[in-house]
Amino acid sequence: MWKIARRLALLAGVHPPHGPYAGFWSWKYLDLVRTARMVMSRRVKGFYREFPDLFPPGSKFPQIVLETTDGRTIDTRSFRGQKHFVLFTGAIT
């Protein structure tokens, strides 16, 4: 049933997070109306529509130089020739 719900959501252009209840587990922590308006908005749907064309597999990853929480600076170009790296985004909410 939750798989069907997830497929229907994807057909509507909504991208729920992965996880239990077809990804709708997170809605326990969220305001339903506000979140529904956000995920159904043209702006957010545009992000998902444009994402595959931004940096498709095989393309060069841009250089990112940012400061870490413990005061160091990480430059993604320093990994070239040395290490593979995984970059993922997130926040506390």
Partner: protein, 192 residues
Amino acid sequence: MQQLKDKYADRDVEFVSMYVREPHPEERGFRGYHQHETYEHKMAYAKELVETKDMDIPVVVDGMDQHHHKTLGNLPNMSYVVDKEGRVRHAETWLLADHVDRILAELVTADRGTRRHDRNPLWDAGVYANCAGRPQRLTEMAAVPPAATTRMRTYADRRFVACAPYSGTRSDRLRARLPRSRRGRGSYAGSW
């Protein structure tokens, strides 16, 4: 992701988390968290995340202009896997650990043979056989015509190679040298 970091700790893999804008500030489960007003505010939330989750992965904080976040896709929980050449190998709108694990396993496997203690001269020569589902001793590859090995240019080719005809065990080969009367029962089978 912490488990993945521990799994690939001795491999050439680095994990970096980028702290971006708050996707759900002041919502039901996050009443005490507001959208960032200053960079120091954002950094404080990032440090709190590191302490709360006991993260070993370095967390870089994007600027208030969200330049890098917008460049990468402007999504709250996206993931990229980049190889040593700086090329994107995997990009996804949601961070899925099993997908990242699969891609990293491929990258790490491709690295094999480049490290000194992994080097196998026969592997370097592209000679590796798995004939009919049973591993064949690499010394037996001498029976394979050289032309066949030169065609093995990819990892997929190297996995399966035309096997030399099975010549039997050593005792079979010795028995074949004996006259038929001395070979034992069954040596005349199939000869009618």
